[in-house]
């Protein structure tokens, strides 16, 4: 049985697709057979971030409507073995996703994969509901910024009530906070919400902090998941986050201004 992970946020442009691509790639790099599904029907983008846009033939909606089978529709990543992409449809509207159809596809994928990463569209409409409905775990992607934090809180409410787990009275969806576009220098100046501020408000465990980085745009320009750029801060931060997702105990990095001395870092790790 595969574990289903949704990457969600409510607000758009906070880094959901970047995160889905990085986390799926990270899981595959660690030897887990992983598929990442784009739920943003009508506004397909995961294929670009993964660099496989020219290889899309069939998509998620084709599979749901049985116009193609999974084997035809899954795109195998060329860099990482055990990594597959199921792209969203570009032409049809979001209402083509239905619970039964999505459930059937996820069930079929479950037989073959260890992890299914669902890349949610922004908003709280059908696509976002479908992406979270079957989730076992959720990565709530948040920017240290008021509207993003508020939307994330709203999403947490939905995860607790509108998922299959919630409806069936099972254990709740395991929630993880991923704080992206974090700038320790601005935090120090009091211009940006800190990790502590956001975790205090949202009150869910911190999976990782991804520093604001020019490398993320560079990687998306090239269609390469940022986690593969393993010399970059953002890539390393994602790799740490994937480790934590798998239960490893890894200290948080990139959350203090670098010039800080050794003792400051030590204090941070202890707290």
């Amino acid at each position: 049985m595969a574990k289903v992970i949704v990457t969600t946020s409510g607000k758009g442009g906070v880094g959901k697709t970047t995160t889905s691509a990085a986390v799926a790639t990270g899981l595959a790099l660690r030897g887990y057979k992983t598929v990442v599904i784009d739920f943003d029907v009508g506004l397909r983008n995961l294929d670009l971030i993964m660099g496989c846009e020219r290889r899309v033939v069939y998509d998620f909606v084709n599979v749901i409507r049985k116009e193609s089978n999974l084997k035809q529709s899954l795109i195998k990543d060329k860099r990482v073995s055990d990594l597959y992409i199921l792209p969203a449809s570009q032409t049809r509207d979001k209402d083509t996703l239905d619970i039964d159809g999505v459930g059937r596809v996820i069930e079929e994928l479950s037989e073959d994969f260890d992890y299914i990463v669902c890349d949610s569209p922004a908003g709280i409409e059908r696509g976002a509901f479908m992406a979270m409905y079957f989730a076992d775990e959720a990565i709530v992607v948040t920017n240290p910024e008021v509207s993003s934090v508020r939307d994330s809180d709203r999403i947490l409410g939905l995860l607790a009530s509108k998922t299959k787990r919630a409806e069936n009275g099972q254990d709740p969806v395991k929630e993880h906070l991923l704080l992206t576009r974090y700038d320790p220098l601005r935090v120090e100046k009091g211009e940006m919400l800190s990790v502590e501020d956001v975790t205090e408000i949202l009150a869910i465990p911190l999976l990782g902090v991804i520093p604001e980085s020019k490398d993320v745009l560079q990687a998306s320009n090239a269609g390469c998941p940022i986690i593969l750029e393993n010399e970059t801060d953002a890539g390393q931060a994602y790799d740490d986050a994937v480790g934590r997702l798998l239960g490893e105990d890894i200290n948080h990095r990139f959350i203090e201004v670098e010039k800080k001395g050794f003792f400051n870092k030590l204090r941070l790790f202890r707290s």
Binding site: V146, D153, S194
Partner: protein, 88 residues
């Protein structure tokens, strides 16, 4: 960071303002989340009833639903304006 904060504690940073605003709005939104749909309408009607006697602003009525285990507590808070309070 905290050491530096000590010196600028009299000046509120924008991050502090952001945090305070978020704490308030998030608490308010959580309190109505999952609550019954009739709450906003009930609030409207309560407002009309109170206005028969005292003119109050819409923001003077606060309805909060709190959950404590199996027990749900509906908390109504109506703030009367100063002059009316003295008159009554």
């Amino acid at each position: 960071m905290r050491f530096l904060d000590f010196f600028r504690s009299n000046k509120k940073t924008s991050a502090t303002v952001a945090k305070e605003r978020l704490q308030i709005i998030v608490a308010r939104e959580r309190s109505t989340r999952g609550g019954p749909d009739y709450l906003p309408l009930m609030k409207e009607e309560l407002l009309l009833v109170v206005r028969k006697y005292v003119m109050i602003d819409e923001s003077a009525v606060q309805v909060q639903l709190e959950r404590d285990g199996d027990c749900e507590v509906l908390e109504l808070n109506i703030t009367l304006p100063e002059e009316e309070k003295e008159g009554v």
